[in-house]
Subunit: 385 residues, 2 copies
């Protein structure tokens, strides 16, 4: 990346940020009091709520008490400054306070308000509180959306702090977002693809194989992460097939920590990059009898289920996997990431597919933590029997 290119992008970013600064961001502060959940200790809203109201009133908030249809006490509070709070006192012993405010609000004032509520509730419910929990604010409407579910549906806040670039290519939405821990992160179709400073993924998929003098095929992989690592291992020839030249261009520019200079040219001493849909090229290789020592699958992860909306993903996986095994030499290996360790059904379905290929195969797998996925991830190695 040249200094000039960097300077240009900084300009673009600054103007974007100026635009976003005009906009209010909703911060949802969730303050959750978890009182004794044992029914021996119910929480009596009549003796708690009147003592809490003055704290809301101090903030110039006015309340609406709602008919809760037998589900305890429920009130909402609206402040002149746009603050909005909800107070629920469930009779079985769970008290929750949710507060929505704006990003430019005074954090000191907010903390004082929440601390006052917490202190008062500690006094009122002295002896029957089993847990008090104040959750970090959920920020909504920010330029960078920091929240993601893991593959098993857990809520995770990433450490992303700046949108570096966003663009739609002919094939997909592409985002480059900066992360404090992992440098620039490449995000394709809202799925994290690669972090600049995380080598665990490459190490996991490449394993301890000796690639010297070998013929290697990479399906996908436009981020250049595997290619860059592979050329250091002195292979005979690496062929990379990726459909999206835009991902190659953006990786070359923004995630050089991962791809180095390997994407600067489509051809090097021991590698070639073919910008093409991999399916017709693989089909041609099968017809011509061209074979490889290693085939890397960097196309997609294993779908989570057999739901109808996953049909085309399974069809694509099955088709490319079958052709990949066909172009493997007898001693060759097909190497792929799969899915989260906890997605046992997805992994079972994948192993079912492996049993149904036109060539008989053997396989093994291993679990490795990929830090920027924030979960344990499974990698497979497949070979011809």
């Amino acid at each position: 990346m040249t200094a000039q290119a960097l300077g240009h992008d900084k300009q673009t970013l600054i103007s974007d940020q100026t635009l976003y600064k005009k906009i209010k961001i909703t911060r949802g502060l969730l303050l959750v009091f978890h009182c004794s959940t044992i029914s021996l200790f119910p929480v009596d809203s009549a003796s708690t709520v009147p003592h809490l109201l003055p704290i809301f009133h101090e903030q110039e908030m006015t309340e609406t008490v709602h008919e809760s249809n037998g589900n305890g006490y429920l009130a909402t509070f609206v402040g002149k400054n746009g603050w909005f709070a909800t107070l629920c006192v469930h009779s079985h012993g769970l008290v929750t306070i949710d507060l929505q405010c704006f990003e430019h609000d005074d954090i000191g004032q907010l903390d004082k308000f929440l601390n006052a509520l917490e202190t008062k509730l500690k006094v009122l419910l002295n002896g029957i509180i089993t847990r008090i929990k104040r959750l970090p604010a959920l920020v909504r409407g920010a330029e960078v959306d920091r929240y993601g579910p893991t593959t098993d549906g857990r809520l995770i806040e990433y450490d992303m702090d700046q949108m570096v670039h966003e663009e739609d290519s002919a094939f997909q939405n592409i985002k480059i977002i900066h992360s404090q821990q992992y440098g620039n992160i490449l995000i394709l179709k809202d799925l994290i693809s690669m972090g600049e400073r995380d080598l665990a993924y490459n190490q996991a998929i490449m394993g301890e194989e000796n690639y010297a003098g070998k013929d290697v095929l990479i399906l996908g992989g436009a981020d250049g992460g595997i290619l860059s690592e592979m050329v250091k291992r002195k292979p005979k020839m690496v062929t990379m097939l990726d459909i999206d030249p835009k991902v190659i261009d953006l990786s070359k520019k923004y995630t050089r920590g991962a791809c180095g200079n390997v994407l600067d040219n489509l051809k090097g001493d021991c590698y070639q990059i073919i910008v093409s849909d991999c399916v017709p090229v693989l089909r041609k290789y099968v017809q011509e009898g061209k074979t490889f020592d290693y085939v890397f699958n960097e196309l997609t992860e294993i779908p989570n289920s057999r739901e109808p909306e996953e049909d085309s993903a399974w069809e694509f996986l099955r088709h490319t996997l079958d052709m990949s095994v066909k172009v493997l030499r007898p001693s060759g290996k097909y190497l792929t990431q799969a899915n989260g360790e906890v997605m046992t059904e997805a992994l079972r379905l994948y192993e079912e597919e492996l049993e149904k290929l036109s060539c008989q195969v053997g396989f093994s797998n291993k679990v490795v933590c990929v830090p920027f996925f924030m979960q344990q991830w499974v990698f497979y190695s497949v070979w011809k029997k």
Copy 2:
């Protein structure tokens, strides 16, 4: 762990679960529509809200429209079944819908309701939506609290699914909670201490040193993780000092995946466990001139700041660190975890402390992902100059 002991605990767990099943759990489903945040495309509540109301009414929810003091449209909806929803239409272009419901509610009905709102909004705001995001439910009041902030304050949902044991010892609250990915996890004073199936922490703190024939001191470490790994490396003698016999007992019982059988006896061929406050023992070692090749600090992580409430933690750290360096042999090393990689101020403060010790020291550090911490973690190695 004997089969009998296991059987007994299962009984206890079942009765606990029965108790908790009686209790309603609030599930906060957050559905966030993030529309274009560019002011060229404001969202007009007058032309959107009337089309959304029938979807709430279908669920027998009745609305209260609040005076929002110029902050857009704000309404709350209460359902007969206890559902509670909030609809905010910020005029600058952020639409948020929050829904609170109960754990026993019909997920199918919930999904249908949220999908109907999403579909309608997509039609109404066709062309000006830049992001649609539905966040996973935040579950509050559950037996196991799955949410934690990382050291840098990010919201994280862990994969913990069962409270195995909870007890207050004379020194601290101790929890053993089961995690899908990491087995049983030991939690001391609400801080994750160790996961049964995560070897990265031990590998990181122990590094590539040759411990054969060496004298090793472990300060803290009652979970037995380092001790168990250390005895495999054939040291001359390992001395472990921990104040809390209850942690030793519970680790021995519930996290054998990490400690093996090393905690079954307080003495082994090449180790001894001394149940004691480490401070007087370290002081005695200093006075007697007793020295070690390696000292491991498993006592506390580095405090985040110099705020007054951290004073005693810094005082303890300083005191034990100073004595630890005093009992190091000239070629010896003091090995410790520190804090998250992003906590640069905490790390800077720690290095300041290292400069102020009564012996001059050199140090190095490294960053390693500790999977169950869900972030990059810094480890230090300190030696006498």
